[in-house]
Amino acid sequence: MPIKNQIKQSLIIAFWFMILTFPIMVIKVNTIRHTIDFRWANFLWVGIVTFFASMIWNYFLRRNEEQKKTDIADDIPLIHKLLQNDRFRRPFLGLVAAFFIAYPFVFPMYHTSIMISALVYVMLGLGLNIVVGLAGLLDLGYVAFYAVGAYAYALLNLHFGLSFWVVLPMSAFLGTLFGVLLGYPVLRLRGDYLAIVTLGFGEIIRIVLENWDDFSNGPRGIGDIPAPSFFGHQFGQHDAMIYMYFIVIGLVLMTIFFVHRLEHSKIGRAWIALRDDEIACQAMGIDKFKTKLTAFALGATWAAMGGVVFAAKTSFINPMSFTIWESITILCVVVIGGMGSAIGVIAGALVLILLPEYLRAVAEYRMLVFGALQVIVMVFKPDGLIKSVRKVYTFKAREE
């Protein structure tokens, strides 16, 4: 677009915003003196700021498009290049490991606590990434499985005194079971219909927990959930937090390990194929229903484990922790991080969960900045922060 047109467009946008914000930015009604002030300076400022914002926005959009044209093949995110390069991989991973090991000892407890939350979201994000990112099933009720895990720990502990380490594997199993139970009837649907039905299922679980008083203690929730023990030894509050932190690190590593393996196995390829083209997928001999169900159930497995960790960390849960917004946040983690990309999801979780916490400095505008950032990421990086890269196979065997 020639520069002249662009200026014209930006002028129109600026003018439109000036009119749009006129009632709130310019007119000021004084109800005591019954006078109206017109703040014309504001009128001008809105115009100037919008004009330049629009110009910058356009500039970046255009640059983005041009980049896309020039390098289709060489479009690998920096972090993948780093990880593929043998010289950089070890120092890079070492640095990341050192950072995460030192983290709880360097930073105060508050930061450790936030980091635990973020890492739980990494687990949830990686789990949902199987369902949404790889298999392409839009699941808006993912939080239901998170609730299943959290309540499993709270209730089993309350009634039977089962410890964290006993419930963790049990919850994985329970999550899978619930995934299959819920998935079985709804996975015949697809796209928007599936999204709505899963949304409903998510709400059902929450409403049941809220109203079935005898079972779940209703909205009052369940308190005094013990933190995990270390071979029978209970830590003090500060040490318990650090211990929890390392448990979560361990779980996240396990999640990354298994999800990575799944992604590059027969079943992982089937998920991606199913996302790309259902009919072709079936014609290639893949059982559509079974494949979808495994994705749904495995996603639920990690959500349930995340739930156990959440319950153990907060020591109190009630149904309010498992609203639809939780599902949306996890979905945002996956979409903004990069659908189908494990590294992207990890980055997405850390940014999306940590950022609002650190934005408390600009408390009033926190959600505004946060929302704007999400829009900007989606406009300029529609594939997410770090997009997925397919595995490259080499064929050395043939050259011998």
Binding site: I72, A73, F258, R261, L262, S265, K266, I267, G268, R269, A270, I272, A273, R275, D276, D277, I279, A280, C281, Q282, A283, M284, G285, I286, D287, K288, T294, L298, G340, R390, K391, V392, Y393, F395, A397, R398
Partner: protein, 263 residues
């Protein structure tokens, strides 16, 4: 000898529309047969009925894979049909665009691999070996089809002709005894069509597959096929060798319209 594909009295109704009306087609082992007919004659519907995407209203679809017993395919889901050895390509290319060329072919191997979820997570030696072999086999198929140079490219970035060939490669990876090709030459230039011609003959001679193809390119059909079936308005109107079909007045009528007396 039993025909490898024996479709008898196949009828497919969509509400009031008879897309296929009492079609009977037999295919011998090692044959290259063509299914031709004007647009909307029901050719692709026929493919969809065989491969389980549609369930035929009435009629019977039977196969006799080499060295196995005759079995019915009616009512089977598409993935089970593929498992039994019938692979297909699509008229409008349906590749998995989020995957590389090799992975597309690996998907074809999917139904011949046995490792499940647990094995995928724990990766015991048996799984690793199987996976390695699958990758190797897929690469070999790509070499045969002539796509080895694209192996790690994204499928969507391939030239058009190569995408069509990749569909065939992917179908071949399922170890079929019968390959259904739905307009494999659509949109190809003469050079690409010539290469496709060679490829199909090569497949029949070297890969031990029989082929049933839908095609509009008459030159390709006539030079390639051993046997031609013609359908029009869902009914089969003729079958025979290419020479027979060329001379058949019904076929000419279906394609060119009836000659009126006063013209």
């Amino acid at each position: 000898m039993e025909p490898i594909l024996n479709v008898t009295n196949l009828t497919m109704n969509f509400g009031g529309l008879k897309a296929l009306d009492d079609v009977t087609i037999r295919l011998e082992k090692g044959q290259i047969a063509a299914l031709i007919g004007p647009n909307g004659a029901g050719k692709t519907t026929f493919f969809n009925c065989i491969t389980g995407i549609y369930e035929p209203t009435t009629g019977e679809v039977q196969i006799t894979p080499p060295g196995k017993n005759t079995q019915s395919l009616k009512g089977l889901k598409p993935n089970y049909v593929t498992e039994r050895g019938i692979a297909r390509t699509f008229q409008n290319i349906r590749l998995f665009h989020g995957m590389t060329v090799l992975e597309n072919v690996l998907i074809g191997r999917h139904c011949r691999l046995s490792s499940g979820i647990i094995k995928a997570m724990l990766q015991p030696p048996s799984q690793k070996k199987e996976e390695k072999k699958a990758v190797f086999d897929s690469y070999e198929i790509l070499e045969k089809i002539g796509l080895a140079k694209y192996v790690n490219d994204m499928a969507v970035n391939l030239p058009y002709g190569a995408q069509r060939r990749l569909e065939i490669a992917r179908a071949l990876a399922t170890d079929p005894f019968l390959l259904l090709l739905d307009e494999p030459a659509a949109g190809m230039n003469p050079q690409e069509t010539k290469e496709l011609d060679d490829l199909i003959l090569w497949l029949r001679d070297n890969e031990n597959v029989s082929i049933l193809l839908i095609e509009h390119d008459m030159k390709l059909v006539m030079s390639l096929s051993d046997w031609i079936h013609v359908v029009d308005y869902g009914k089969k109107i003729a079958e025979g060798t290419p020479a027979d079909i060329k001379a058949n007045p019904d076929v000419i009528k279906a394609y060119l319209g009836e000659e009126s007396d006063d013209a």
